[in-house]
Subunit: 123 residues, 2 copies
DNA sequence: TTAACTGTATTATATTCATAGTACGGTTGC
DNA sequence: GCAACCGTACTATGAATATAATACAGTTAA
């Protein structure tokens, strides 16, 4: 069962998008694997304190991406292969890193300083 | 006059927030300084291709933060001192770095790998 | 079999973000 | 003085996000 233990829905972006990202980061980390069972819409919404429709939207979009298989009445499962997993990992990584680098460069921070900051804040 | 040359309004977050961040990053970089003149609401909205109300919202929030002084009929100017500038820089830096580190840790990336990625993507 | 759970769908409401259009009075340079 | 700006304010509209309350049919385990 995919875990949402360390999920915190408070970063400004839509909750349904945060749910999607939580799952994709799990996939990128190898924590979420093919055929893993997803919490039901009702269970997850109650766990996160959000509306079932919000979870349904996240799951629907993931299904449209081909990462989840859902069938009426049955539980939902991850539908992954090596290609999908690799492509998710690569895209998330590049996105996050490029975003942070753009920010730091706009703040006129040097690469050396950036590396030092990361070293400092990493725990 | 504060420049919006390299501004691109397409990162998912609200445009008014992107305007605020653009200015704050300029402050953090030392490019935007005390008493610098801001483009008028109408001029900037037309430059960015957004509604004047969107720019007004960004400016209003910056004024409420004490970073801008506006008076009806007159142009708007930055209102900065060393304390404000330092606090903006520190807060932006910490935010960006912590966000990126959280992402990379969720993806199970090691600190060593993280530093290598930054080194690779920095240009 | 049947009760409990599942996915799915619908309607209604509220808030935020952004747009469009208009208006009013203050400031500034010619 | 006056035209051309400026900040500020308001109403109306629409899309996106999220909530609430139902409803219905498929699946599954006791």
């Amino acid at each position: 069962m995919i875990s949402f233990d360390n999920f915190t829905a408070v970063d400004g972006s839509p909750v349904y998008m945060q749910i999607i990202m939580h799952i994709k980061r799990g996939v990128a980390a190898g924590i979420v694997q093919n055929e893993d069972e997803l919490p039901s819409r009702r269970v997850l919404s109650s766990l996160l304190g959000v509306n079932p429709n919000t979870v349904q939207k996240a799951y629907r979009l993931l299904e449209e991406e081909g990462l989840i298989s859902s069938h009426s009445g049955a539980k939902s499962f991850m539908q992954l292969d090596e290609d999908k997993t690799n492509s998710i990992k690569a895209s998330l990584l590049e996105n996050d890193i490029r975003g942070m680098i753009r920010s730091m460069q706009q703040m006129d921070i040097s690469k050396k300083e950036a590396l030092e900051f990361i070293d400092l804040y990493w725990r």
